[in-house]
């Protein structure tokens, strides 16, 4: 299998961060809030044999109850806002929310449209963003690395004083 050398570098740095912040296990719940399915495809590609994100301690989980991180894609359509809120509430602390893709950041090309709410941050608190339309798997991994590098400590429990 043809591997990208940079992938290994990013990967092992990512793994260190996952160890540091998430005890070596980062569970991701992906939520599509009206994306065009391009970002989903790229996120799904993270699990294929090329990127194999699992080996860095990162895995996708079926329920928000199991998740440490919500990867939200799409501009958040009117019809998905409520579902997104519920998924956020269903996720136990500590949790990170990452808006993936230009649309998720601020609505992208759909910004202003009657049918969308202009990005994830309009509906739930967003911790980080990953730009791109869609961001490629490698970009997603680089961005995750940058995100985790920036996170000094394990994500704080919001609402806890």
């Amino acid at each position: 299998m043809q591997q990208l050398p940079e992938l290994e570098v990013i990967g092992s740095a990512l793994q260190d961060n996952v160890r540091r912040l998430f005890k070596g296990s980062l569970a991701i719940r992906q939520i599509d809030t009206g994306s065009d399915n391009a970002t989903e495809q790229e996120l799904a590609a993270l699990t294929n044999a090329y990127y194999d994100i699992e080996r860095f301690g990162i895995h996708f989980v079926p329920s928000p109850r199991h998740a440490d991180m919500l990867l939200v894609t799409g501009p958040v359509t009117r019809n998905m806002a409520e579902a997104l809120k519920r998924a956020y509430d269903a996720t136990p602390h500590p949790k990170l929310v990452v808006a993936v893709g230009d649309d998720a950041i601020d609505g992208g090309i759909y910004k202003g449209s009657y049918a969308v709410l202009d990005g994830v941050s309009q509906v739930i608190p967003v911790d980080y963003q990953i730009a791109g339309d869609p961001p490629s798997p490698l970009v997603i991994m680089q961005s995750l690395l940058a995100i985790l590098d920036g996170a000094k400590k394990a994500p704080k429990q919001k609402g806890q004083s």
């Binding site: 998430f22 296990s25 080996r55 895995h59 329920s63 136990p92």
Partner: protein, 307 residues
Amino acid sequence: MSYLLWIIQIMFVPLVAPLGVGLINSLKARIQKRRGASLLQPYRNLWKLFYKDEVISRDASFIFRFAPFIAMGVTIIVGACLPIFTSTLSTPMSDLLAVVYTLALGTFFMALAGMDSGSAFGGSGSSREMTISAIVEASFISSILTVAFLSGTTNIAVMSAGLSPGSGNFLIPIVLAFAAFCIVLLAETSRYPFDNPDTHLELTMIHESMLLEFSGKRLALMEWAAANRLLIFSILAVNLFFPIGIAHDQAVLSVLLGISSTLLKVAIVYIVLAVLESTIAKYRFFRLPDLLLVAFVLNVVAIGLVL
């Protein structure tokens, strides 16, 4: 010495079980030409979950809250009753029926917990789990019964001591009962072709759909209990039917040999599982009873041959 052995005996299943899951996942990744997660990943997952908060459905009752402790507790109890590395640690708890029904108690509460949150998936997961475990129970009991009659005791911890090592006459019934037990193992531990432990499709899940509502510590316990269950059944499979290497005394050397031979044999079971789960598709739900019928017939023939 005996205390030390008991400590090993009790800790073995909960400590080793996550490693087994890691092994299977890693092997499956290799077969898919991936490198996969590290062998220790299941421990990390559990540890992480223990340090997460929990969200519990407001529809759920105390059943949901206590089921994980019962599920975990049951696997620890049963784990301590097994012939893990020696046939000398016997308790009245190691009775065949006590083990089977204690495990069933865990399933009972897990299925109730699946229904408790009122999610449609949890309910259908419970229904599927109970359907399979209801019809597999007869095969579970009778496949071990074959060995019990051969060794003259239903105490699974000491069963292997009763089996004379060179009894070639009993090879056929043992192999038949072992084959039946393998089907039981797959059904009881929610592996292929009964259930797909990796699936992200909520509509096809059996075991996983009962866990969709769990989070944090309780999820960790449920997943840990599932790993324990797999190890328990694997130990039963290798040490009841092929007790090669198992210690019949408490000497250090034989105990070490017992532990390493068990680890080796269980590893083989896990490798076979990984290969199986990579090379076949899951069965249709209503074809599964056929498989269980096969197990049942194998058992009847095996017991018939023993006597």
